[in-house]
Symmetry: C2
Subunit: 218 residues, 2 copies
Amino acid sequence: MADNNLEVKENEKVISPVVIKRLPRYYRYLGDLLKNGVVRISSKELSQKMSVTASQIRQDLNNFGGFGQQGYGYNVEYLYNEIGKILGLDHTNNIIIMGAGNLGQALANNQDFDSNGFKIIGLFDVNPRLIGITVRGVEVYDIDMLEDFLKNHEVMIAALTLPGTKATKVAKDLVDMGIKAFWNFAPVDLNLPEDITVENVHLAESIMTLSYRIHTKK
Amino acid sequence: MADNNLEVKENEKVISPVVIKRLPRYYRYLGDLLKNGVVRISSKELSQKMSVTASQIRQDLNNFGGFGQQGYGYNVEYLYNEIGKILGLDHTNNIIIMGAGNLGQALANNQDFDSNGFKIIGLFDVNPRLIGITVRGVEVYDIDMLEDFLKNHEVMIAALTLPGTKATKVAKDLVDMGIKAFWNFAPVDLNLPEDITVENVHLAESIMTLSYRIHTKK
């Protein structure tokens, strides 16, 4: 996927895209520290936990202002919230899931998303056996209800957990209905207009990469 | 994940890791062409399908010998098979899935893997309601059966579709039992010995990346 937003300005600073890519991992570690009641942490301690150099951590996190004071370290909660803001997690991001099979249900059941500002508000399917059931309190709707649903709900992201043969058509319909962002699990490239954001999770390509690494290691 | 295998020798040629990363996508497109009965394709046609430049395709695929002849194009089946070999897909890669919840079942149900040399031969769980059921003909076993199972089956990859709190312990046990490669869906870094290969699919980090891109586009 081409990402046309190569930099973000935060307090007049430009944060490099390489740093941005590392942010979700920092966010995860800081979130775990916060859950464990850790108030502050030095770059050295954080670097040991994360298996990266303390110098990289200092350089990366210096982008977020002067929170890493010598002899004090980082304020965990502050840094966690600042990174959350950069990642857009201070908004509620409503998600719909197209396809209520195992993978769609697995996403709906994943509690990691709620706590990070993501909220799954509906699943859609064509299978009469699935329509009407709820997954962690979220209803599976008939796909015919989609247009009405989108009129009444602000949806930020559509996750596609459909077969590849159906995903392209459904994505194009969703674009026509105003959806601007896709989390695509179908094994196809969607080829949508430039202004649409697509994040692909291509599982078959992921396991091929693993296979490559196994067989070259031998 | 650090990948220590930065290059692979194939017929005395060194293929760059950047090219290697693009191989699964070529493999997918060539596989689709093959299914549709296409015997040969020019770099120009392939580049249009894949939305990359013809020049990049020629450079990438030149690594695989002289199959792209001027005026002929690429032999689809030959190229597909050659790329498959590089990716280790000419072996059968037996997989077990640790965790038979929605995500584990979604992987077991995914037909994309079979056709690419991957074979899921067992799921393991602790939940008595899941033990004994089959998913596309593959049984869910009690996790207590794991050690015996591994004595009787050659397993190449363990997929971890467990909660983060359990994944680290299960992965360490599997390493003790001889497993060398993990496809990790749990939201943790496994921190396993150097000789173990880990491919992470961190879904929460994937959707945070999407969120970042949405909110910076605005």
